[in-house]
C-alpha cells in the first residue's frame, strides 16, 4: 500500500539540543499510528516539522508519494494535515462555529455566513459521530468537548491525516473512552491518525502500529499486535550510559519529612495528589521520577505550603506542618528550589543581592528594628557570589540579566544559605548547560552528605537515577512504587512511569 505520509532522515536541532536526528517515519492510509517516547524524546518537534511550525534542518517529507515543502501551518492544512495540540488553540468567548471557521474565507465575503457554517458543522459532526452544538461559546464546554471542537476544526478543513498531541492528558477516563470510539470510527472512514503519547496501555489499546522515539531518534516501529508493554517500556527508557556522580554510601538518619495519605487539587480543581505517602530521612536523596504533569509540581507546593492540602498530614521533624503558612515552613528548615525560577524562584526585577536575601531579609543580621543592614547584606552576598561562582558584574545587577545557570545558582545559594534540614529540589537543572547542571548536582550531593534530607523531583530520569538513594515514581497523582537505587530496574521504572503496575521486578532480574 502506498504511504500517506513518509518522513525521510528528518533532522532538527536547537542551540545545544538535537531534537530530531535522522528520523524516518511512514504513515499508511487508514491507520492509527502511535508515537511513543519520554518527555523531550522529540515527538512533538517532529510533528511540528510536519505541521510547518518548524522547518527541518535536513530531510524530506513525502505526501502521497510526492516530496513536499511545508513552510507554514497553512501549507500543511492545504495538503490535508490537521493537528490538535495539547493546549487547545480556541478562542473562549467565541462560539464553536466561529472557532471552526476562524481564518477561512467566507462564501459571502466580507460578511460572515454563520448559518451555513453551523449547518455544515452539524452534518460533519453527525457523519463522524461527534455530537456538538455549534452555537455554544467555547468557555461553557468541558475540556473533552473542546477537544472535539479542535478535531472538527481539522475535519472541516478536510484533513486526511490527524495529528493528536497527547490527546488524553487533559481528559477524564470516560472522555478517553469516547475519544477512542471516535478515533476508531475515523479509521473506518479511511482517515489516518498519529497519536502522540507516553502512556503504554493506551497506546497498546488504540494503535495499529507504534513508533518508539528516544533522544531524538526512532528506536523501532512495530505492529501493536506483535509487542507488549514491557518491551515498549524498555525501548522507551533503556539507556546504556548515564552521568554518574560520585557519592559516598548513604547513611540515613532520622525521618525529616513524612507524608501520610496527602491529597490536593490542581489549579483546574481536579485531584492532583491522590493519597501520597512516603518518608525522607536525613542524609538521603529521595528521587521522584515521572512524566511531567503527574502531580510533581503540586507535591512540591503542598510541602512548601503553597497549595492547600485537602486531606492527609505532612510532618517535618515530627511536627505537623499541614497547611501552615510558607513562612512557618521555611522557619522549620525547609528549603525549596521551585521548578520555575523565572516566575517563582526569583524576583526577576530585583537585584542579585536582594534575591540572595529573599528568604532571610527579615532575620538578623540582615535586619535590625525593621531596617535592612546594608553592610551585613553586602558581606553575605559577596561571600555567596564568590562561593557559588555566580557570574555577575556586581551584586546590584537585576537578576533577570544573568544567564539561566547563574540564576539557578542564585536560587540554590539562597536556599542552601538557610542551612535547611530538608531541601525540595524540583527540576533543579531544567534548561541549564552541562557545567551548571554538574555544579547544581554536586551541591545537592554535598548537602546530602552534610545530613540534609533531599526530595528531588525531576522528569529527567537520568538525573533521578544518578543522584537518588531511593527512587519513587509518580503517575497521575499516585506513587507507583519506591525502590532503593541499587535495586532499581529500568524496565520496572519505565512501566511505572507509563502507569502500569502489572510487571513484577522478580520476573526478569535485570538491574542497573
Amino acid at each position: 500500500m502506498e504511504s500517506l505520509l513518509r518522513l525521510e532522515k528528518i533532522c532538527k536541532s536547537f542551540p545545544g539540543v538535537v531534537a530530531n536526528d535522522h528520523v524516518d517515519l511512514e504513515i499508511l492510509p487508514g491507520e492509527i499510528h502511535a508515537l511513543l517516547g519520554e518527555n523531550g524524546a522529540g515527538k512533538t518537534t517532529l510533528m511540528n516539522c510536519v505541521y510547518g511550525v518548524y522547518r527541518p534542518d535536513s530531510g524530506t517529507i513525502y505526501w502521497k508519494g510526492q516530496p513536499v515543502e511545508i513552510h507554514q501551518a497553512r501549507d500543511a492544512i492545504a495538503l490535508g494535515i490537521g493537528m490538535v495540540h495539547q493546549h487547545f488553540m480556541l478562542v473562549p468567548p467565541l462560539t464553536v462555529a466561529e472557532n471552526i471557521i476562524l481564518g477561512l474565507p467566507s462564501p459571502r465575503e466580507p460578511l460572515l455566513d454563520l448559518k451555513s457554517a453551523s449547518r455544515q458543522i452539524r452534518e460533519l459532526a453527525e457523519r463522524y459521530g461527534l455530537p456538538i452544538e455549534p452555537d455554544v461559546p467555547i468557555w461553557q464546554l468541558p475540556v473533552g468537548v473542546q477537544q472535539r471542537v479542535e478535531i472538527l476544526k481539522a475535519l472541516y478543513r478536510q484533513a486526511e491525516l490527524l495529528i493528536l498531541d497527547e490527546p488524553t492528558a487533559v481528559l477524564t477516563p470516560g472522555e478517553v473512552e469516547e475519544l477512542f470510539k471516535v478515533l476508531r470510527a475515523f479509521k473506518e472512514k479511511g482517515l489516518s491518525i498519529i497519536f502522540i503519547s507516553h502512556k503504554l496501555e493506551e497506546v497498546m489499546s488504540i494503535s495499529d502500529r507504534i513508533t518508539v522515539m528516544r533522544a531524538g531518534k526512532v528506536v523501532d516501529t512495530l505492529p501493536a499486535s506483535r509487542t507488549n508493554p514491557r518491551e515498549l517500556a524498555r525501548m522507551m527508557v533503556g539507556r546504556e550510559v548515564f552521568l554518574q556522580i560520585e557519592k559516598p554510601p548513604c547513611t540515613p538518619g532520622e525521618v525529616v519529612l513524612e507524608l501520610e495519605d496527602v491529597r490536593a487539587q490542581s489549579d483546574r480543581d481536579l485531584p492532583a495528589l491522590k493519597g501520597i505517602s512516603f518518608q525522607v530521612r536525613a542524609g538521603e536523596i529521595l528521587g521522584i521520577a515521572g512524566v511531567d504533569g503527574n502531580g510533581q509540581t503540586e507535591l512540591a507546593e503542598v510541602i512548601a505550603g503553597l497549595r492547600r492540602v485537602t486531606d492527609g498530614r505532612i510532618r517535618v521533624l515530627g511536627k505537623d506542618i499541614t497547611n501552615c503558612m510558607p513562612k512557618e515552613i521555611i522557619d522549620m528548615g525547609v528549603a525549596f528550589v521551585p521548578p520555575d525560577r523565572q516566575h517563582m524562584g526569583l524576583l526577576m526585577n530585583f537585584t542579585v543581592s536582594e534575591n540572595l536575601i529573599g528568604k532571610s531579609f527579615d532575620r538578623p543580621p540582615f535586619s535590625k528594628y525593621g531596617f535592612l543592614q546594608k553592610q551585613a547584606i553586602e558581606n553575605f552576598c559577596a561571600g555567596a557570589i564568590y562561593r557559588c561562582d555566580i557570574r555577575t558584574p556586581h551584586a546590584h545587577v537585576p537578576v533577570k540579566l544573568l544567564s539561566g545557570g547563574n540564576q539557578q545558582k542564585v536560587v540554590l545559594a539562597r536556599e542552601l544559605s538557610l542551612q535547611p534540614r530538608l531541601l525540595i529540589a524540583a527540576q533543579p537543572t531544567r534548561g541549564l548547560d552541562v557545567g551548571a547542571t554538574e555544579y547544581i548536582r554536586r551541591q545537592m550531593v554535598e548537602a546530602r552528605n552534610a545530613g540534609t534530607a533531599i526530595l528531588l523531583i525531576s522528569t529527567e530520569l537520568d538525573e533521578v537515577l544518578s543522584l537518588s538513594d531511593r527512587i519513587a515514581v509518580m503517575y497521575e497523582g499516585e506513587i507507583m512504587g519506591i525502590v532503593p537505587a541499587e535495586e532499581a530496574d529500568l524496565q520496572q521504572i519505565g512501566l511505572w512511569m507509563a502507569g502500569s503496575r502489572a510487571y513484577q521486578a522478580a520476573e526478569t532480574p535485570q538491574t542497573v
Partner: protein, 419 residues
C-alpha cells in the same frame, strides 16, 4: 571569583552605578525639557514668543515670594498624593482613590479643628494630622481588604469609593455642626458652620493651623510686611519630610522590601515566605494615610476650612506626578515642583505673552508621555544587552523543544491575517 580584569573594571562599575542611579532624575528632567520644547510650537502657532511665554511662566512660579508661595501651596497636596500613588504602585496596589482619601483626611482634620477648640497647638496639630492620616488609611482599608481577601480589582473599588466620598462630603458640609447639649449624632458629625447660610465649615482653631514663616519671624522678635510669608508653612516641610521617610521605608526597611516584592511578583513573594495578604493591606493603609494627610495639610496649612470644591483633582494628579517621578519618592518631589510651578505661573504667562493657560496642560501631558517612554531607555553596556537577547533566544528554543504550546502564535498567525 574576582579576576584581575574585573578589578580593573571596578571604576567602570562605580561609574555605571552612578549613571543608573542618576537616571531616576535624568528621565523626568529630560521629559520635562522635551515637553517644553515641543509645546513651544503651539505657543508659536498662537502667535506668541515661546521664550517670553516660558520666562513669564517661570517668573509667575518663582519670580517673587508671592509667586513662590503659590507654587509651594500647589505642590504640597500633590507631593502627598504622588507619594500615596507611588507607594501603592510599588506594591502592586494601584490606588486611584487618593482623591477620596484626601477628602476623608480633610474632613477628619477639619472636624478636629472645629471641635477641639481650646486645645494647645502642640497637642492639636499632631491630633489633626493624625486624624487625617487615619481617616485616609481607613478609607483605603476597604479596597485593600477586598483585594487581599476577595481578589477585587482595586482600580475599580478605589475609583468608585471616590464618588461616594465626594457625595458624603457634599452632604456633611450642609449639616450644621453642633456639639454639646442638643446635638444629635448627625449634627455631631456635620461640618457646616451653623452661623452661615453657605455650605462651608467654620475656620479651624488657630492652634490647629500650621505655623508659617511669619509666625516664626514674629516669635524671633522680628517683623515682616510681606503677606506671602504667611503661606510658607510647616505643611511644606512635612511634605518634603514625608518624601524622605517614604524613600527610606521603601528601599531601606523590611516593610518596603515586602511591599516591593509583592509588587514585582506576588507568587514569588509568597514562595519566599512573605504574607501577601498582610502586605497588601499594610500597603493600602500606608498609601491611604499619605493621601489623607494631603487633605490635612491643605486644611491646616492653607485653607483652614472646608468649602465646596476646596481642592479638586489633587488626588488624580498624584498619578501623573508619581509616573513622571519614576515611582521614586524623591522623583515625586521633583515632578510635584514641576506641576506646582506650571499651575502657579500659568496666569502670568497668559497675561504677559498671550499664550493660553491651557498650554500648561499640553506641557503636562507631553511630560507624562516622555517620562513613560523614557523608562525603556537602556543605559547598560551593549555586552549585557547582547547576553540578555541571546539568553532569551536560548530559553525560547528550549521551551519550543519541550513544550508544544510555545509556537501557538506562529500557528494562528498566518491564518488570522486573512480574517
Amino acid at each position: 571569583m574576582l579576576s584581575t580584569q574585573e578589578v580593573t573594571n571596578r571604576w567602570q562599575i562605580v561609574y555605571r552605578r552612578f549613571l543608573e542611579r542618576s537616571f531616576n532624575i535624568l528621565i523626568p528632567l529630560g521629559a520635562i525639557l522635551a515637553a517644553f520644547l515641543i509645546s513651544s510650537t503651539l505657543v508659536i502657532a498662537r502667535g506668541a514668543n515661546p521664550l517670553t511665554a516660558y520666562a513669564a511662566l517661570f517668573a509667575g512660579a518663582f519670580g517673587s515670594t508671592n509667586a513662590l508661595a503659590n507654587t509651594v501651596t500647589r505642590m504640597v497636596p500633590i507631593i502627598m498624593t504622588g507619594l500615596a500613588v507611588t507607594y501603592g504602585y510599588r506594591s502592586g496596589f494601584f490606588n486611584i482613590g487618593a482623591e477620596g482619601q484626601l477628602f476623608m483626611g480633610a474632613m477628619a482634620t477639619t472636624w478636629m479643628g472645629i471641635t477641639l477648640v481650646g486645645w494647645p497647638a502642640w497637642l492639636l496639630i499632631p491630633t489633626c494630622l493624625l486624624a487625617g492620616a487615619l481617616a485616609g488609611s481607613l478609607w483605603a482599608l476597604i479596597p485593600g481588604y477586598l483585594k487581599a481577601r476577595r481578589g477585587f480589582n482595586e482600580v475599580l473599588t478605589t475609583l468608585l469609593l471616590n464618588y461616594i466620598t465626594i457625595q458624603l462630603f457634599e452632604f456633611l458640609i450642609r449639616v450644621d455642626h453642633v456639639v454639646g447639649p442638643g446635638a444629635t449624632f448627625l449634627s455631631w458629625i456635620g461640618l457646616k458652620d451653623p452661623s452661615q447660610p453657605f455650605p462651608k465649615s467654620a475656620y479651624i482653631a488657630e492652634a490647629a493651623r500650621m505655623p508659617s514663616l511669619t509666625s516664626v519671624i514674629t516669635w524671633l522678635g522680628g517683623t515682616t510686611e510681606d503677606p506671602a510669608l504667611q503661606r510658607f508653612t510647616l505643611a511644606a516641610v512635612i511634605a518634603v519630610l514625608a518624601a524622605v521617610v517614604i524613600y527610606i521605608l521603601l528601599f531601606k526597611t523590611t516593610t518596603g522590601y515586602r511591599a516591593r516584592a509583592v509588587g514585582v511578583n506576588p507568587r514569588a513573594a509568597q514562595y519566599m515566605g512573605i504574607n501577601v495578604m498582610r502586605t497588601t493591606i499594610t500597603t493600602a493603609l500606608i498609601s491611604g494615610a499619605l493621601a489623607g494627610m494631603a487633605g490635612s495639610l491643605e486644611i491646616m496649612g492653607f485653607q483652614h476650612r472646608v468649602i465646596q470644591n476646596f481642592l479638586v483633582g489633587a488626588g488624580y494628579d498624584g498619578i501623573p506626578v508619581a509616573l513622571i517621578g519614576q515611582l521614586n519618592p524623591l522623583g515625586v518631589l521633583l515632578s510635584a515642583l514641576f506641576f506646582g510651578a506650571l499651575r502657579a505661573g500659568a496666569n502670568r504667562m497668559q497675561i504677559v505673552s498671550g499664550a493660553p493657560v491651557s498650554i500648561i496642560y499640553v506641557i503636562q501631558s507631553l511630560a507624562i508621555l516622555f517620562a513613560i517612554a523614557g523608562t525603556v531607555i537602556d543605559l547598560r553596556p551593549r555586552r549585557l544587552k547582547q547576553a540578555e537577547i541571546e539568553e532569551a533566544k536560548r530559553v525560547e528554543a528550549e521551551l519550543a523543544a519541550e513544550s508544544p504550546s510555545a509556537p501557538a502564535a506562529d500557528m494562528l498567525g498566518e491564518e488570522v491575517r486573512h480574517v
